[in-house]
């Protein structure tokens, strides 16, 4: 009997206009979305390859260890075609420097920052908004409509239990909702394979399958919601209004309200707080440099106030009345370098402290928005597509690890201690004197008078030749994998919501007057 009821529901749905509308609408949206985002992914990937190659070339062209400042990049995830997540909002490039702990990535490969606030029609958006609405459309008149047509009492009188009737409507609705979406989804995958030549690994296929599962559970939840509203109301129009109300609150209003409520309960630090924290640490470092300047008066402590930076080549020197003086590179490294690294650490500690407040805010948001099915679907999709904040955070952490590796390697080779001068120059320390600088000055003028270009002149202070590869630490970054655990957790929550909605519907239909 149960199978007959399910089959009856499926046949009824297949004959309706709304099924045709769902099929056409989703096919159109999914095809266009996959086409355009597939093309966009290719451009982003090409841009990443270009940027990574160029950075790798530049990073290898260092002459002295003080020039080691690699740029690291994060590749776009192929699954971002299905769920953009936070991919477009955050940067993909980090410049790893000794004097700054990486805390945010810069630049995006092809994106326009002005469009960061505009929605992108990815599969997640189609599921979150379109699937849910069609789920309601398929089920809002399942009970009340049958009552209005007079067929509900006939069904109840032929021996089918009310629970069976409701369950068959739920399953029939989910199956009929699944058909257009699976069809569209497969069409999209075919398009990616044939026109873009994309292929997925086994793990990526699993992630794609799980996205589809998440989407269907989500759609099933709204079928159950529509059924429940239908069982609570006598008229189909009233059931539709109630279903749409629940949809609007759960999908549109609750997430926005959650963000604002979280802001009131767990306030965020203002951008001025971080700026003040940075300024304070800058002042502290400037004060330390000034003290150093009193001991070593030939040093210019104007470094932090702009206008001059320590050159990476040939050691360090100071302009005094416009005349260059050689100063002891070792003294510089022994004093200035620790000050600046300590400053970087201090800023990072302050930032981390403020970041803790952001974490509290996002936890509060998660708690309040836990009632919104759209947020659970989003988290499932973005964790599978590797476009969530965790993926970005993982990349930043790798960049910070790389910085620590560089610093520890420099330290282990004595560049901050006995070997300090070799940090700046390939020449033996004993050779770097004021006289050499004076000779350099005259030599450069003579060469230029002979018509030579700057890069054709061999600077007598430094020794040419690039650093050996083993002197430069390699960036060890493994592309993160889809987080199936997180996705399963959120799918589980959606299943629980579906069961809860169904349970309410069951109670409602048991009390329903079928006449």
């Amino acid at each position: 009997m149960f199978k007959i009821l399910i089959w009856k529901e499926i046949r009824e749905h297949l004959m309706t206009f709304r099924f045709a509308a769902a099929l056409v609408t989703t096919l159109l949206l999914v095809i266009i979305s996959v086409w355009v985002l597939g093309d966009d992914f290719q451009r982003r990937r090409d841009a990443y390859n270009l940027a990574a190659e160029e950075s790798a070339r530049n990073d290898m062209q260092v002459v002295v260890p003080s020039q080691i400042r690699p740029t690291v990049h994060r590749a776009p995830s192929v699954l971002s075609i299905f769920a953009q997540g936070e991919d477009r909002r955050f940067g993909n490039t980090v410049l790893v420097q000794r004097w700054e702990v990486p805390r945010r990535a810069e630049g995006s490969f092809t994106d326009n920052m002005l469009l960061a606030a505009e929605p992108a029609l990815d599969l997640y958006t189609i599921f979150a908004l379109v699937v849910s609405l069609f789920g309601i459309l398929f089920s809002y008149d399942a009970v009340s409509g049958e009552r209005e047509r007079g067929t509900l009492k006939i069904q109840c009188s032929v021996g089918a239990g009310r629970a069976q009737i409701l369950a068959s409507k739920l399953l029939g609705g989910i199956i009929c909702l699944a058909i257009p979406f699976i069809f569209s989804f497969l069409s999209g995958l075919l398009l990616l394979s044939l026109f873009f030549g994309m292929s997925f690994t086994g793990e990526q296929w699993s992630a794609v399958a799980m996205m589809l599962l998440a989407g269907l559970v989500y759609g099933g939840l709204f079928v159950a919601t529509g059924l429940t509203c239908s069982a609570l109301m006598r008229k189909s129009s009233a059931a539709l209004i109630l279903s749409l109300l629940v949809w609007a609150i759960g999908v549109l209003l609750l997430p926005s309200a959650a963000a604002n409520a979280a802001g009131v309960i767990a306030p965020l630090p203002s951008s001025a707080e971080l700026a003040n924290a940075e300024k304070t640490s800058l002042q502290e470092a400037a004060a330390a440099l000034e003290e150093f300047g009193k001991v070593h008066p030939r040093y210019w402590t104007g470094l932090l106030t702009g206008g001059w930076s320590i050159p990476g080549r040939g050691g360090c020197f100071k302009f005094d009345g416009g005349v260059a003086h050689y100063v002891d590179g070792a003294a510089w490294v022994h004093t200035i370098e620790p000050i600046m690294q300590r400053r970087a650490g201090r800023i990072w500690d302050l930032y981390n402290g403020l970041e803790e407040r952001r974490l509290n805010h996002s936890r509060m948001f998660d708690l309040i928005s836990a009632a919104s099915p759209a947020m659970h679907l989003r988290k499932a999709f973005t964790s599978l597509a590797i476009t969530d904040y965790q993926a970005y955070g993982g990349f930043l952490e790798s960049a910070r690890r790389h910085r620590r590796l560089i610093l520890s390697q420099l330290e282990s080779r004595g560049y901050f201690a006995d070997n300090a001068w070799q940090f700046f120059s390939r020449r033996p320390t004993s050779e770097i004197t004021d006289d050499l600088y004076a000779q350099r000055h005259a030599y450069l003028e003579e060469q230029m008078a002979l018509g030579k270009r700057g890069d054709e002149i061999l600077d007598p202070v430094i020794a040419w030749g690039f650093l050996a590869k083993d002197e430069i630490p390699q960036f060890a970054y493994t592309e993160p994998a889809s987080d199936f655990g997180v996705a399963l957790l959120h799918i589980g929550v959606l299943v629980a919501m579906l069961c809860f909605a169904f349970a309410i519907g069951l109670v409602a239909i048991l009390r329903y007057d079928v006449r």
């Binding site: 266009i32 958006t125 749409l244 604002n260 203002s270 951008s271 702009g306 206008g307 450069l444």
Partner: protein, 467 residues
Amino acid sequence: MLSIARITMLQGLKDAKFLFLSCLVILAFVVNAFVYSEGYSSSHREWQEAVQANSSELEQKLGNLQRFATHYQKLVKPPSAGAFIADGGERELPDSWTVSAFLNMEPEKTIRGNRMLPLLGRFDWGFIVGTLMTLLAFLVSFDAVCGEKQDGTLKHVLACPVSRIDLFLGKYAGMLAILLLVLLSGMAAGLLLIVLFGSIPLSEGIVWAIGWAFALSALCLSLTLLFGIFISSAVHHPPVAMVILLVVWILITVAVPGLARLLGEQVISVKSEFEIRRESEAAHDEVLDSAPEKAKYQHNDPFHKDNPLRAEMWRSSMAAVQRILDRSNETRLRQFEIVNAFASISPSCLLNSSLQDVVATGAPSFRALKNAARRYQQQLFDFTARRDATDPETPHLVYAHYNFTDSGVFSSKPVEPGVFPRAEDLWRSGGLPQEQSQPIWQLVIFFVLNLNMALVAFIALARYDPR
């Protein structure tokens, strides 16, 4: 016609579903007032802190004109008081620009809010009217004609006799009246809260913006209502009409904006920051390669005979870099505007972009910031040149390479407080930035669309079989 309008109004006002949804819309306006009052208050405070921080940093450079002129200031746009009408992505768009006397660099975004949270939709009047109230309009009108046919009352009404034109106008007027009543109630409730909170200044510009917003919203709702009547007159079963209207609603609120962004990115491609940096470096290298060798050498004597060549070299280099930066910013803006143009196929998006023009958020806001940065950079340069001209001890070569300049080539005398151009003078005190405009063209477009849709809907009703 009037009696039909009155009956339609009364039916709507007595309908519990409609009342329920209307309360939801009014609640949305109230939430909007609460959210944006609090948001504007904190944003304005942050802006004042940013301006103060910029002023403090600048004051440290007053001891030396060279350091003053080469210092990178952060020009921060004030938050828009009209964001509650049309948000335009205020929290996500760049709101500051790095400027010195020699270069206006790149726009930047103040990190506001929590980047760990997903980017959620805006809850401005554009959203409430363009998304929620259009859905309400469809729900009100989907069974206006086919519903009456299904109930069997349509043929009796037409037999009264009531002409089809009277029926059409009566239904339209009645439904529009109740939608406008809900709109006015919502706006009034929201504005009352805004006044009570007191954080958003209701200047003359804002009051005008509210008026324009009401007019644009009324025309948008009228258009969606007419479309609903058209669909109701084109089909014979209310559920079919409901499905069609919901699909259309999905298309105009979700699909069209999403697609518009994707298509806009296809039509105009924007260079990445990496590419722009490379292009700038290449332009800089090209200028240096073509410059005479004598120009590349930094001389201790600012009056050295080769320094004018050096000045010319650096000016050319900076001009080339500035052209690249200006071109990239203009391309970004054009792409943004093209996305908005594509999205204007949807009445909801057309309403949103019109409201953004009225309150100068979104693309107009970015353009205002870009123009302000350009103007301020020119003011700083002119000020530097004028001050240098009064110093007899320099060769008056006012140039720099990014934020570095050769010692002594232009004046390094102190600058008195209060005589130099201030960034905050660029913005009008309170109220809206200077790029606010009147939406005359948008009103005309909406009006023409309404006329066309009214004609189409009436023709559908005129051909409708009421039996």
